[in-house]
C-alpha cells in the first residue's frame, strides 16, 4: 500500500536573487507503515518537499496524494481538515512558550473540537507514550531540548495521525538525545503503524531508522535506496558524499578554511 504519493511536484520561489526551483518535478512513493528518509545538503529542497505533503506549501504543479486522497484537489477548508491526519515535528520544536506541556499536546485536540475533559485524558496518555507524564505542568522553557522534542512528538500524535512528518527532528539536540528521539520515532512507527517521512542531512540518522531513503539534490530526486542494504553502492555524487562526509580541517595557512572530505 502506498501511504503518500507525490506526482511530479514542482515548487518555485520568487527570491530577490531570481527564481529558485526549490523542488523540481519530484515523483515519490512512500510505502504505508514505513520510515522514509529524505536526505540532502542545505538548500536541496528537503524541507520544502516535506511541506508539500501537508500543503503548507502549495505546489505550482503536480499532485499530492495522501492515503488515497488527492490533497491538491481539495478546498482550503478540506485541506485543513486533512492535516489533522498528518502530524508534524520540527527542528526547533515549535512549542508554544506560554503553554504547559499538557496544554501544548491538547491544542490540536481543541482545534479538532474534542471535549475539554477528553482532551486532557488524551494529552496525558500521549505524554506517557513519550515518557514525560511527570512534566505535564512544565513550560517549554523548563524542558531540555530532547524533552521539548518529545512533547512535540506527543503533540503531533494527539489526533491519532496516520502520517508523521519530521523536519530535521534531531538536528538541534545532542548526540545522546538524538538516539532517544530516533528510538521514540521507531517505536511509534512499529507500535501504531504510523508512516514517517524524515528529513535530515545526516546519513547516520537515515541508517539508524529509515527503511528507504530518497536523495535530493538541488530540488531533484537523484537516487533512492535502502540504507541498510550493504551491497548498495551510492550512484549519485551527493549520496556518496553524504555517506562519507566527515569534517577535516586544512592545516593553518594564509587562507585557512574548513573543508569537508568526501564527494566526487
Amino acid at each position: 500500500m502506498v501511504g503518500i504519493e507525490l506526482r511530479g511536484v514542482t515548487k518555485t520561489f520568487d527570491t530577490p536573487t531570481g527564481l529558485l526551483d526549490a523542488v523540481n518535478d519530484v515523483w515519490l512513493c512512500v510505502e504505508e507503515g514505513s520510515i522514509h528518509g529524505i536526505i540532502g545538503l542545505s538548500g536541496a529542497g528537503k524541507s520544502t518537499l516535506l511541506r508539500l505533503i501537508n500543503l503548507i506549501e502549495r505546489p505550482d504543479s503536480g499532485e499530492v496524494v495522501v492515503d488515497g486522497r488527492e490533497l491538491t484537489g481539495l478546498s482550503e477548508e478540506e485541506v485543513r481538515h486533512a492535516r489533522r491526519g498528518i502530524g508534524m515535528i520540527f527542528q526547533h520544536f515549535n512549542l508554544l512558550a506560554n503553554r504547559t506541556a499538557l496544554d501544548n499536546v491538547a491544542l490540536p485536540l481543541a482545534i479538532a473540537g474534542v471535549a475539554k475533559r477528553e482532551q486532557r485524558q488524551i494529552a496525558i496518555d500521549r505524554l506517557e507514550t513519550v515518557g514525560l507524564p511527570h512534566k505535564r505542568d512544565a513550560y517549554p522553557a523548563k524542558l531540555s531540548g530532547g524533552e521539548k522534542q518529545r512533547v512535540a512528538i506527543a503533540r503531533a500524535l494527539a489526533t491519532q495521525p496516520r502520517i508523521l512528518l519530521c523536519d530535521e527532528p534531531t538536528s538541534s539536540v545532542d548526540p545522546q538525545t538524538k538516539g532517544t528521539i530516533l528510538g521514540y520515532l521507531r517505536e511509534i512507527n512499529r507500535r501504531f503503524g504510523i508512516t514517517i517521512v524524515l528529513v535530515t542531512h545526516e546519513m547516520s540518522v537515515v541508517r539508524a531508522v529509515c527503511d528507504v531513503v530518497t536523495v535530493l539534490d538541488r530540488g531533484r530526486s537523484v537516487e533512492q535506496f535502502a540504507p541498510n542494504d550493504h551491497l548498495h553502492r551510492p550512484r549519485s555524487a551527493i549520496a556518496s558524499f553524504l555517506a562519507r562526509s566527515e569534517i577535516v580541517l586544512e592545516p593553518l595557512g594564509d587562507d585557512a578554511s574548513v573543508a569537508v572530505a568526501g564527494g566526487e
Binding site: 501537508n54 503548507i56 477548508e77 485543513r80 481538515h81 486533512a82 492535516r83 489533522r84 498528518i86 502530524g87 508534524m88 520540527f90 526547533h92 515549535n94 512549542l95 508554544l96 512558550a97 506560554n98 503553554r99 491544542l107 490540536p108 481543541a110 482545534i111 479538532a112 513550560y139 517549554p140 522553557a141 503533540r155 489526533t159 512528518l165
Partner: protein, 220 residues
C-alpha cells in the same frame, strides 16, 4: 502650606478627570488597536492573508493619523468631537481626539508584538489544521500576550502625558491643573506637588505593567 490646602479639592478633581480620560482612552485603544494591528500583521506581504491593497490602505491611514502632532489633531477634530459628544469642550470632549490618536498608536505597537511571535510556532499551528482565526486566537495572542501587555503600559503612560494637552479644550486633568494653579498663579508648591503626583502615577503604571508582563511571560 495653606495654598496646598486650598488647592486640595481641586487636585482631587483633576486627578479624577485624568483617570476618567485614561479609563475611556486606554480600553478603546486596546480593543480597536489590537484588531487593527492584527489586520496589519495578517495583511503584511508574505504573511497569512493575501491582501496587498488592504495593507497599503491601512498602513497609509495609520501613518497619516500618527503624523499629526496631538495638539493640532485635537483642534482639527473639533467638528468630529461636536458630532460625537455634542460639544467640543470638557473632559469627555477631550477623550475623542485622544482615542482617535491612541488607536493607530496601539495598532503599531500590537503589530510589532505580533511580529515578534516565532514563525515556526505559527507553522506548527498551520500543520495542526488551524484556520486563520484559530491561528490568531490560539497561537498569536497566546504567544504575544506579554508583548501586548507591555504595549498597554506604554500607551497608558503616553496618554497620561497627552491628557495634559486636553486642558486646552477645558478637559481638565492633573497636567492642566498644574499649569493653571501652579504656573500661571505662581503657586510653586502646588506646581511641584501636582507634578510629584504625576511622576508617582507613571512609576505606578510602569511597575504594575512590568509585574503583569513578568507573570504572563513563560519564555524564560
Amino acid at each position: 502650606m495653606s495654598s496646598l490646602l486650598r488647592a486640595a479639592p481641586e487636585i482631587l478633581q483633576a486627578f479624577g478627570e485624568t483617570f476618567y480620560m485614561l479609563l475611556v482612552t486606554v480600553p478603546l485603544a486596546v480593543l480597536f488597536g489590537t484588531a487593527l494591528g492584527t489586520v496589519l500583521f495578517l495583511a503584511r506581504p508574505g504573511s497569512l492573508l493575501r491582501a496587498p491593497r488592504l495593507y497599503l490602505a491601512l498602513n497609509a491611514t495609520v501613518n497619516l493619523l500618527r503624523s499629526f502632532p496631538f495638539l493640532i489633531l485635537m483642534i482639527a477634530l473639533i467638528p468630529v468631537t461636536r458630532l460625537l459628544v455634542g460639544t467640543a469642550l470638557g473632559t469627555t470632549a477631550a477623550t475623542v481626539p485622544m482615542v482617535i490618536n491612541a488607536i493607530p498608536y496601539f495598532a503599531r505597537l500590537a503589530e510589532q508584538a505580533l511580529l515578534d511571535v516565532d514563525r515556526g510556532v505559527i507553522e506548527a499551528g498551520q500543520a495542526m489544521g488551524m484556520s486563520r482565526k484559530q491561528l490568531v486566537w490560539h497561537i498569536l495572542y497566546v504567544e504575544a500576550r506579554s508583548g501586548l501587555a507591555n504595549c498597554v503600559t506604554i500607551v497608558t503612560v503616553s496618554f497620561f502625558g497627552y491628557s495634559t494637552v486636553a486642558g486646552l479644550v477645558g478637559g481638565g486633568g492633573l497636567g492642566d491643573f498644574a499649569i493653571r494653579w501652579g504656573y500661571y498663579r505662581y503657586e510653586t508648591l502646588v506646581l511641584f506637588v501636582t507634578v510629584g503626583i504625576m511622576v508617582a502615577c507613571v512609576q505606578a503604571f510602569q511597575f504594575t505593567g512590568n509585574t503583569v508582563v513578568r507573570r504572563l511571560d513563560k519564555r524564560i
